[in-house]
Symmetry: C2
DNA sequence: CGCATAACATTATGCGCTTAACCAAATTGT
DNA sequence: ACAATTTGGTTAAGCGCATAATGTTATGCG
């Protein structure tokens, strides 16, 4: 691929990232949410209670990020955290009533955002977008946590002695 | 658009943002750059010296971000900043020799990133991506700094009296 | 069983980008 | 020409997400 194409592509992705996030923020602010928290609510609304490690996997972000999102959503009363019955390390996360209501509103905002975003594109193009973007994301995420390759790259933890 | 589609789309964009940025970071780290700085170098390499306001427009980010990127690139010796001859408020930014060399390496990394990202997609699809993604970004950025609409939303500046 | 290793979660820290607030210089309107 | 506004730039503060390091519980192997 020549540089011009590569640059156009990377720039477009970068721009899209910034703008899409900014627009999401604008739509979520009236709901009292910051971008990042909405996906957690939506995931819980879709798949029911789960532990944070599962959320981390589902949302595609790292555990510390989940901890922070969850803390804030708990503080605002939209989710509840309790020790998992089967594993005393894990924290089970579930929606509260308020969280369920909020999730409905988030769903509306989410639809608005998507509809705004694809204005001017043909129906077929729009239909093919999720898969294309999914492929792009997967490709960009290669070299990450083993989709079958080596996963043996875990450092020995440097267990502090004293 | 139904929620499932909207969600798939938004999630894919979100994921792509995270992954693409992460991959960019991984490729740029060996060059001593953090993601965000590369686009400034590339823009200067492409269009020659310009003032920060122009950079802000070209990169699609806010002036304070440009100030920060530029500060760091100046500190690492890749760009030079000087007062603009025609406008005493403005700062003219240009590449140093070291910056030009680095920009070449960034170009290579940029190509690698793009090529990795589109693996598995048909040639036609790849060719259509920049325009599609550009449209998405533009749509998501609507309601921003007037593409012809109202631009009169400037607050009166609260000129502190005492 | 007992010990090493892996997994879940958290805290601390760092970077990028944003908005808000501000100074300085240029432009416009009367 | 002078006041009001607009534009260029910077600093301060805030948030999201990342990695590094740590505590705690579960698991796997001798």
């Amino acid at each position: 691929m020549d540089f011009a194409r590569a640059d156009a592509l990377n720039q477009a992705i970068r721009l899209l990232s910034l703008r899409h996030r900014a627009r999401a923020a604008a739509l979520l602010t009236p709901l009292g949410l910051h971008p990042g928290q909405e996906v957690l609510l939506l995931e819980l609304a879709r798949s029911g209670p789960m532990i944070q490690a599962q959320l981390s996997g589902a949302l595609g972000c790292e555990p510390p990020s989940v901890t922070l999102m969850a803390s804030k959503l708990e503080a605002s009363g939209h989710i509840r955290r309790s020790p998992a019955p089967t594993d005393r390390r894990a924290t089970l996360v579930e929606l509260t009533d308020s969280g369920r209501e909020l999730a409905d509103q988030v769903r509306r905002a989410w639809r608005t955002l998507a509809e705004e975003t694809v204005v001017g594109l043909g129906e077929e193009t729009v239909a093919s977008l999720p898969e294309i973007l999914g492929t792009l994301a997967e490709n960009a995420g290669a070299g990450r946590r083993a989709t079958g390759a080596n996963a043996t790259t875990r450092r020995p933890r440097r267990t502090g002695r004293g």
